[in-house]
């Protein structure tokens, strides 16, 4: 097709361009026009119909004509009963799945009464130190019917064990418990930076959980391979895509090494992507991700079960794109980002609340965020036809380009010896820091615009209401944890913790011993201390 070249040289050149850089938010420069000649690959090989390999157009045959995505708002603050009340509110508003945010001490493996927890208990999520807190968190919630997502990583094995013990105490057998635990430790070292032990033992715990769930909790997704935090840390869309898929490759390799067949566990792997402001780039990223994963699972790992090749995903609008300035504008950003997710074919979605650059969201702000999804689902009509962007020259060309560039990164990581080695040398961490700095520079030079921040700003902001966390809850939670520690059978706890330590050393799967420990009231901090003692503690290299 010579027509595009000719058009660029004649018709287009005669027109004038605005004096700006035409690039995505990730600074990928775009052509003024895409034509059939920009799209590589045939329809059957590269695109295909929905529900068919390579799943570019969606993993399910009927997509949103069959059922909408799961509307799953991430929630958690204060004491377990505070978050339980928010869960019941969200379910009453038409939300269909739960998603739990834990506070920083819980996420880092400290009990509420640990000195490192000072000032952080219940601040950024709900505090869970013992199985009793977990029981209060899910009080009056039918764990065999509502699926739950738990965002927790280095202490994930302990929190999953607590959830399973609560289910068994509520008479729900493990086989009927459904949900997802984030448990993606590789991206923690790359981006979110919540860790206990170094990468290699951390990877072993993740693999133990994948193996355990495949055998004992078949409806559970034992890992949600996450690009979200990589993007929030400042990566480009291509880096998000590349590092996330590379993390997925590393997990699959690790479990296969144990002699487990790929099709025995791969159908339960799930993903989690960021939805940023650049609309077409995000749609293309999601489509490219599905195609890449399908091809990698089939060609690299020899998967036979189509379910092993299907990239099913949760997505969340980009927290880092929201502004503290003129915060009501965030409602618009979130709506557009969520629309990209839906047009990108996600299975589950969280929409951020407008006030999240200021504090945890108020009930009113959360409701607007949930309503945003309901408007997209039930008013806009975009759910009536599957992958309406399929065949768009621009979107297909971008999808191809994202796959090509991300594949280049993955090749480099393979050459380094895989993702663990890449992390140990700081490669993805540096790439992301570089991209974050580049964006900040572009923002300050006015090459990129953030409305209300470096353009269209106002001198006086109108304040909006924010959620306040009562500092007194910290003391209440501390007392509660201490009471459990006082009243439990401490000999039984010590024995159970010793068994966890033995499993750390022997290589036995850790999950059953951890379940037994939390059944006997061992705490999040105590099991984490076993990890610290047996595996060592990871320290931030502090690269700038």
């Amino acid at each position: 097709m010579g027509s595009k070249k000719k058009w660029l040289e004649t018709t287009y050149r005669q027109a004038s361009e605005r004096p700006v850089r035409f690039s995505t938010v990730s600074d990928m420069e775009l052509d003024p026009l895409y034509t059939p000649g920009d799209v590589t690959g045939s329809y059957d090989d590269a695109i295909g119909n929905p529900g068919e390999f390579p799943y570019t157009r969606g993993v399910y045959g009927s997509m949103y004509r069959g059922r909408f995505w799961t509307m799953r708002q991430f929630a958690g603050f204060g004491l377990a009963e505070d978050t339980n009340a928010r869960f019941h509110f969200l379910l009453s508003q038409g939300q269909d799945g739960l998603s739990t945010a834990f506070d920083m001490p819980t996420l880092m493996g400290y009990d509420a009464d640990h000195e490192r927890a000072l000032g952080e208990v219940g601040r950024e999520g709900v505090s869970v130190s013992t199985v009793h807190d977990m029981a209060a968190l899910f009080d009056r919630i039918p764990l065999d019917r509502v699926t739950t997502s738990m965002t927790v990583n280095c202490s994930a094995s302990i929190l999953l064990a607590m959830y399973l013990v609560v289910a068994e105490r509520n008479g729900v057998p493990w086989e009927r418990v459904g949900g997802t635990i984030q448990n993606d430790m590789l991206k923690e070292f790359i981006a979110q930076k919540e860790w206990i032990c170094p990468p290699r033992p951390a990877l072993r715990i993740v693999a133990d959980m994948i193996e355990f769930c495949a055998r004992k909790v078949p409806r559970w997704h034992p890992v949600s391979i996450s690009g979200y935090h990589i993007r929030e840390a400042g990566s480009t869309a291509v880096q998000e895509l590349a590092f996330t898929i590379a993390d997925g490759i590393c997990y699959v390799d690790e479990v296969i090494k144990r002699g487990i067949g790929v099709d025995e566990f791969a159908p339960r792997l799930s993903f989690f992507w960021n939805l940023h402001n650049d609309f077409l780039e995000e749609v293309a990223k999601l489509r490219a991700a599905r195609r890449m994963w399908a091809r990698i699972m089939k060609d690299r790992f020899g998967a036979k079960n189509p379910k092993s090749m299907m990239l099913r995903t949760h997505a969340q609008t980009a927290g880092a794109s929201l502004t503290a300035q003129q915060p009501i504008n965030n409602v618009v950003r979130v709506a557009i980002q969520a629309l990209a997710g839906v047009l990108g074919g996600v299975q589950s979605l969280h929409t951020n609340s407008m006030d999240e650059t200021l504090a945890l969201p108020t009930e009113q702000a959360v409701t607007v965020a949930l309503r945003t999804q309901q408007v997209i689902a039930e008013e806009t009509g975009v759910t009536n036809t599957i992958d309406p962007f399929g065949g768009s020259y621009a979107v297909e060309a971008l999808t191809d380009r994202m796959e090509r560039e991300a594949t280049g990164y993955i090749r480099r990581i393979d050459e380094m010896g895989g993702m663990v080695k890449a992390i140990e040398t700081g490669y993805p961490q540096r790439e992301i820091a570089e991209a974050a700095f580049h964006f900040q520079r572009q923002l300050e030079q006015g090459i990129k615009t953030v409305v209300g921040v470096n353009k269209y700003s106002v001198p006086e902001e109108i304040p909006i209401a924010t959620l306040k966390i009562d500092p007194a809850i910290e003391e209440r939670q501390i007392q509660r944890v201490r009471k459990v520690k006082r009243e439990r059978n401490s000999v039984a706890v010590r024995e159970a913790l010793a068994r966890v330590a033995d499993a750390c050393r022997s290589g036995e799967n850790l999950m059953e011993p951890i379940c037994e420990a939390v059944r006997r009231d061992a705490t999040v901090g105590e099991v984490s201390d076993i990890f610290r003692a047996e595996f060592g503690v990871y320290k931030d290299p502090g690269w700038i």
């Binding site: 920083m104 490192r116 000032g119 840390a233 504090a359 974050a436 931030d540």
Partner: protein, 134 residues
């Protein structure tokens, strides 16, 4: 005085791992001609105060995005004073509501930068407000 390069300790107290801002600021301050030491993540107030004294810092920039700022900022200031280093200026940033920022300033935090602040603004503030310790 102008000959001595200011030495700034950029620190991440608390448990949150959001280091995007801290790293950007550290790099911008370094590019702005200051000597910058970055502590890395998950520092306790003790570790930060100790590092500030050991490294002979002129100022400490704290980045907190976990909501624990009302505990962590005053604690760093208290520990610096305890070590006889109360003259080390403490400034910072993060997800910090305006009324908390006002309270923190009353407690001795020299300046609070919130989301949307430019690196240029922060570098300029440091240049104009931080003097080398004698």
């Amino acid at each position: 005085m102008a000959d001595k390069r200011l030495r700034i300790l950029v620190a991440k107290p608390g448990l949150d791992g959001h280091d995007r801002g801290a790293k950007i600021i550290a790099r911008a301050l370094r590019d702005g001609g200051f000597e910058v030491i970055y502590t890395g993540l998950h520092q306790t107030p003790e570790m930060i105060a100790e590092a500030a004294v050991q490294e002979d810092a002129d100022a400490v920039g704290l980045s907190v995005l976990s909501g624990a700022h009302m505990t962590l900022f005053p604690e760093v200031i208290r520990l610096l004073k305890e070590r006889g280093a109360g003259e080390i200026a403490v400034f910072g940033g993060g997800i910090i509501p305006d009324d908390d920022a006002a309270k923190l300033k009353q407690m001795g935090v020299r300046q609070i930068f919130t989301p949307g602040a430019s690196t240029e603004e922060i570098v300029k503030w440091v240049r104009e407000n931080i003097a080398p310790r004698v």
